[in-house]
Symmetry: C2
């Protein structure tokens, strides 16, 4: 009975890692669409999101079945609850990628991101994508050290966001209001993707150690 439970739980975690790979693809393609102004790639991200939503529903059904049929307690219960939360966050990260793709699509045949701020946004996207990739590995490996490290990388994203704002609001900004609004919202979307990656990593730390990452770092 317990073994069947742990097999099913492992399968849920495998599914979460699979959704995380889909999110990684969504972030990558949304960024490609954004930086190249490619409407077809943007459409691809937008239409693929329904798959992430369906995968989330499957994980929720499995988690619900595990709770109903096996009534786990203590650590096992904690993992199932964490899985439910992680899958919500992954779905949200997919939605945020769609938001990026929609800004890209809105500006076609132009590119939403002006050349002057291209490197900063490209770097934000790269950091976000890397964090999504790593959190997918952490879901599978349950590597607490890697999870705590991911949390620290969030500061890189904060710095990039501050630096993008400094550019937008400097006297050198000659790209107008529309581009500034796009860039501010894009910064927000990438930052939120990174926040969710950190949050998932923190949940893995909690599941493995029973402690919140802050307590471990103190």
């Amino acid at each position: 009975m317990r073994d069947a439970f742990h097999d099913q739980l492992e399968s849920v975690l495998g599914d979460l890692a699979g959704i995380c790979r889909d999110v990684e693809t969504a972030v990558r393609l949304a960024t490609e669409a954004l930086l190249s102004g490619d409407a077809a790639v943007a459409e691809q991200v937008i239409s693929a999101d329904v798959e992430i939503d369906r995968a989330r529903e499957r994980v929720e059904d499995q988690a619900f079945a595990l709770l109903s049929l096996q009534a786990p307690v203590a650590g096992d219960l904690r993992v199932v609850i964490a899985a439910l939360r992680m899958v919500s966050e992954l779905e949200r990260m997919g939605d945020l990628s769609v938001h990026v793709a929609k800004i890209a699509r809105l500006r076609v045949p132009n590119v939403a991101v002006p050349q002057a701020i291209h490197p900063t946004i490209a770097r934000m996207a790269e950091v976000a994508e890397d964090m999504v990739k790593r959190v997918g590995q952490i879901i599978l490996s349950q590597d607490v050290t890697a999870a705590i490290e991911l949390g620290r990388d969030d500061e890189v994203m904060d710095q990039l966001r501050r630096s993008s704002f400094a550019q937008l609001l400097s006297d050198d900004w000659t790209e107008g209001v529309e581009a500034a609004v796009d860039v501010a919202l894009l910064g927000r979307y990438y930052e939120r993707i990174a926040d969710h990656a950190v949050s998932i990593a923190n949940r893995i730390v909690f599941v493995v150690t029973g402690e919140h990452p802050r307590a471990l770092q103190a």
Copy 2:
């Protein structure tokens, strides 16, 4: 045993409604700080957020205890899981109010929202606050009709957001990039608060009827 369970479950829902009232206060005060440029009120929202976080932890502990000790199934399990999700959303709505308050604080002694767009932002804030208030009542009353109505009001928010963008991006906008970026982000925050209110209302519909609101409206 079952009666003790339902008493505890009712107490969890009561706590959720209480958190919702705190969120309503946060939205109201954040808006007051924003539209008046009052730093003290902004600080009040920012420092009160820790109470919402603590209340969320208490609800999570209670829900975890219910799952562990009572191993609910079917409808009862669905309510406990919904409570866990609703409390995450309420915490997030508190965070979004803090974001509004922080924009207010950043611009003191000025007001972040220029006069020209003041009515639109004030209306968005009013709609968001009203939705938060109503969803608190829906958590207690489990009123499915009211919950489905709330979902429809989300369109009002979408229209306001589109209208705020139209103002920002029109040739008449003379308030510069900084104010435009503030207003775009503020619009996003109020829209997300409204989204979460709708999501909570939808969870109540699902808990009561076992159906998603879309299925009921079809």
